[in-house]
Amino acid sequence: MSVAADAAAAPVLATSGLTKRFGGKTGQTAVDAVDLTVPRGAVYGFLGPNGSGKTTTIRMVLGLVRPTAGDVRLLGGRMPDDVATVLPRVGALVEGPGFHPYLSGRANLARLDAADRLADPRTSAQRVDEALDRVDLLGSARKRFRAYSLGMRQRLAIAATLLQPRDLLVLDEPTNGLDPQGTREVRTLIGRLNQEGVTLLVSSHLLSEIEQVCTHLGVMRTGRLVAQGSSADVLGSTRPSAEVTTPDTTRAAEVLAGLGLADVSPTPDGVTATLDGVAPEAVVAALVGAGVAVRGFVVRHATLEDRFIELTGGGFDADE
């Protein structure tokens, strides 16, 4: 296949015009013309509120759900037709951990390994235990899944993706239900896997958990991909803002407006505005020169959270 021939440049995953409508022509459009591009070696943070279409997109990428329109190129193959040849190189955790409740964690992984046509049965036990060890579950390997805490279940699901060496890991909400400690461990694991050469697609509706490890970001809103690119690109398109703490609110606002700053608005203890290329020191000088009593001055760069809310229009579940 010519696309995959120059593999160094070819993305691990690329969708074009990917669309899913549930319930026929009049049905609800869950995913609307999404062009996802996950470059080789990336940690791609796939963000969006609950119900924005992330999981449906992931299900189409993995061949679980058939697209209404558009196509998916995954590791040089075309999904869902090439499921059998492509998916062995993909580890996936889709929409939370799903395991047999009355089997132990180890037995659940052994079952998945037995189902793998390409797995070597002679090394099965060894690989299962190594995967459990990587997520620190070896001590609870013999416990029934039913007795696992939510965090342990989530870790078992991650372990299931590590039974084989992979080129791509798709982790849908991997930190769901984890405590801060567990979340940090997952983040560390993601970083380590990435260093080993694995590309990762990690979805989340919790931004702070994912922001620190992602090299690339894609943001979904009501079924549409509203932003995509390297983290710097996606975050960089926001402008820093100035936050002035002062009792002279009215005077300060006039000065900021006079300097040509946009979005000037009062806060309970001061004024904020978008810097728009004006140097912060010039703003402070102007304020002081105008006799404004400046008690505090902060330049805030947009966090992913701000950008996210800007892109998705606020509330996490607003679009359901």
Partner: protein, 307 residues
């Protein structure tokens, strides 16, 4: 072909945890277990899953309890009570061999179909319900392969149930009444060995019926994510067929019913075996297997897995 050379697996200098996996995890050339070996491995795992489940073990115990109950009931009842039906009950006092046949004839109406319905409900709907279906499909297990393994395991489970009933029946009969040469329904006498061969044929005939019901059940199981719903649906279908089959006025419908020829199993106890109804029964079984496995395949391979 996807370019596997252009997309290398984890680098060779990966940390120690990964390296042995990389070296031995995938059985590529030479060491490759082969398609048949891999298929059998998955089937074994499926059978372990079925047999390891407490509820299924209890179900097997219930199946096995029926011949014991029959044997004891006949033993303690008035030995002079007599009937003239074909359920073999009245022959038991003379020969423990008939406990197995009586048990199978009694269980074919509800208990054995119920067992198949439970296994079929678990097969696809059950996996969808606990969320393991998506996990299997992304392993990846192709959908056709998954259905094939599920169906074979289902049939083997049914066979196990039928064999268990027959064996427990033989043992209970032997203990309480002794085993003797078998008097056929035609009045001739078969040696015990020949009688056991006939019993084996009955076991296979009943299993063929259950295999056909299993195909129907597997199809129902692909329609829902609720295993109990699938099980109840299969039982309703099975029981409805028995009821319809007993209404004389619906005789035009009877040839289409899976259950119409199942009691022909008594013909295996005639001498010589009366094959007319038996072969019709087997043909009906075959037709149900073909139609409903095709339906299950068509449904499952085109289905959006959103569970």
């Amino acid at each position: 072909m996807p370019t596997s050379d252009a997309l290398p697996a984890a680098p060779a200098d990966a940390p120690e945890v990964v390296e042995p996996v990389d070296a031995v995890g995938r059985a590529e050339q030479g060491a490759r277990p082969g398609a048949v070996g891999a298929w059998l491995r998955f089937l074994r795992s499926e059978l372990r899953l079925i047999l390891g489940r407490r509820r299924n073990q209890v179900g097997l115990a219930v199946l096995a309890a029926v011949p014991v109950v029959i044997a004891i009931a006949v033993k303690v009842a008035d030995p002079t009570s007599n009937g003239d039906d074909a359920t073999f009950l009245n022959q038991i006092t003379g020969n423990g061999f008939f406990v197995a046949l009586a048990a199978l004839a009694l269980e074919i109406g509800l208990f054995l179909p119920l067992a198949v319905a439970v296994l079929a409900g678990d097969a696809v709907a059950g996996e969808a319900n606990v969320g393991t279906l998506r996990g299997l499909l992304v392993v990846p297990v192709t959908r056709g392969r998954l259905l094939a393994v599920k169906y074979v395991a289902l049939v083997l489970g049914a066979l196990l149930g039928v064999v268990l009933v027959a064996v427990v029946g033989l043992v209970a009969g032997a203990v309480l009444f002794g085993l003797h040469p078998v008097v056929t329904l035609s009045g001739t006498t078969l040696g015990l060995g020949a009688g056991l061969v006939r019993l084996l044929l009955v076991v296979l005939y009943v299993t063929a019926y259950l295999a056909a019901l299993g195909a129907l059940g597997l199809f129902v199981s692909t329609l829902t994510e609720q295993p109990m719903g699938a099980t109840v649906g299969i039982i309703i279908l099975s029981t409805a067929m028995w009821i319809l089959d007993s209404i004389e006025q619906l005789h035009w419908l009877h040839p289409w019913l899976l259950v119409d020829h199942q009691l022909a199993l008594v013909d295996l106890l005639r001498d010589p075996v009366y094959t007319h109804d038996l072969s019709l029964g087997l043909l009906t079984d075959l037709a149900y297997v073909v139609v409903f496995l095709a339906a299950a395949w068509a449904r499952f391979t085109s289905k959006d897995v959103t569970s």
